[in-house]
Symmetry: none
Subunit: 256 residues, 2 copies
DNA sequence: TGTGAATGAATGTTTTTGAATGAAAAACGT
DNA sequence: ACGTTTTTCATTCAAAAACATTCATTCACA
């Protein structure tokens, strides 16, 4: 990413949040702390933001009283396997695609990486959480409307299905709850399964993201047959992935 | 390929993307880095683009610095007044309503309070940020789908309008950018104004939330006449609120 | 064949970056 | 309140990336 592009994103984030830590910026934009520090010092020199200990804030803001709506994300269980799967998934992109991003933590690991893709893809998602994060990173995003399921922050239901039915995707990345040789891809929730099915039907190519623990599991509602999708997973000795090779396509992250 | 033809393509790409790296241009047009460098230097000399380290960008407008940001800056001021306004707004609820919550920081101050209302209301919003927070607080929420405006994290456009058109609200809370005795409620963005108008039209009772700095200001796009809404604001000596009393309804927070 | 523009590669220089270090500041525990 | 621990900061250094410059080759056209 180019310097001015990165600094524009920093400015946009500050405008939206009023105040943001150097640490968070650094993690969102995937650069070192040193580089982020230099960027912020430069922006402060130009008089665009105010430098404070630990981060930056808007010039006009009064430091005395902070609202700090910090209820947001804490689930930064940065499991290396999720990160690895996300990297493999991103590698399927060329840039500029119209893609669907399913709700869930595994697909969520793709978000910061999506902010790096050029040209920026158009991301459609049913997760309000993902949508908010992507917008913060200045990634063009369309959110599927409807009732938000409180357990997953994802929209489901008729309104969502209707809106989805009018769209078509180059690529979709679906989170998986359970993968089985005969049952295929399944998930516990009936409504979420319906959304996932619809997405797959409207995608030129559908990828299912799953860590090793999801294999040889079955859940209630059918999402897809193995033949319909490509599964992106991690290298894993426990699961006998070879038997899946015959029924579906597999992308396995590097053992690095 | 002829030189001018190649340079036209470069210009078209920059026009479309706003900013592009020398590496990407070089790969797209299948020439050496040296040649691409020469092209870009020439275009920069002619004043057609701005040369930056690693690539080129449009020279005209800075992507993030839009006119409305100036007004958005003001909303970052006066945190306690926002809290006071939010409290007054919540006091209008009885519990169990179907309500609309507009995007913006002032309406955002209502979020934690909404988590306390019993029975829980159904909250409809066009802000993916608000939707995410409300879902975290287990408040039933419906999000309006559509393209997310990156500067405000709110959905706008045709899809959003369509979906809104099918809903009706007991109460709506709208954020205001500018309030004027003769111009009424206005806002800088045309698309957001359209959404706000639609919401007001579908609400039994519409409230506009505004701190003192919003009064006697005018912006580009009309949202509503003063007669259509009730304004919730703060006690404020500077603004002559009395003159507004005759044109609209006012709810003013306690001086506590 | 000669000429000049355009190109790609090679060269050394400048800018950008990430890591390392110790100093300063904030947060913490008692 | 006080000393300790953690975090943030400024500075420095080396590696990587981007840069300007030079030079030899190619190609169109006289």
């Amino acid at each position: 990413m180019m310097i001015s592009e990165r600094q524009d994103k920093i400015l946009a984030l500050i405008q939206k949040r009023g105040r943001i830590s150097i640490r968070e910026l650094q993690e969102l934009l995937l650069v070192s702390v040193s580089t982020m520090r230099r960027d912020l010092d430069k922006l402060a020199d130009e008089g665009l933001v105010k430098r404070i200990h630990g981060g930056v804030e808007l010039l006009s803001q009064h430091p005395t009283l902070q609202p700090e709506i910090a209820i947001a994300d804490k689930t930064k269980l940065n499991q290396p396997s999720k990160q690895q799967i996300a990297l493999t998934a991103i590698a399927q992109l060329q840039g500029g695609e119209t893609l669907y991003l399913d709700a869930g933590t595994t697909t969520g690991a793709m978000i910061t990486l999506l902010g790096q893709v050029t040209p920026a893809p158009l991301v459609v998602t049913n997760s309000v959480h993902h949508a908010s994060q992507l917008a913060d990173l200045m990634v063009p995003v369309v959110v599927i409307g409807g009732q938000v399921k409180l357990s997953t922050n994802a929209t489901v239901g008729m309104t969502a299905a209707e809106q989805l039915g009018q769209l078509a995707f180059d690529v979709s990345f679906i989170g998986a709850d359970a993968i089985d040789l005969t049952a295929g891809i399944t998930t516990p929730d009936l409504e979420e399964a319906a959304i996932k099915r619809l997405v797959i039907a409207h995608s030129r190519h559908a990828f299912v993201l799953a860590d090793a623990s999801k294999f040889n599991q079955r859940a209630f509602a059918k999402v897809a047959d193995l033949e319909e999708v490509t599964i992106i997973t991690e290298p894993n000795s426990a699961t006998e992935l070879a038997s899946y090779q015959t029924k579906t396509q597999l992308k396995i992250g590097d053992q690095s």
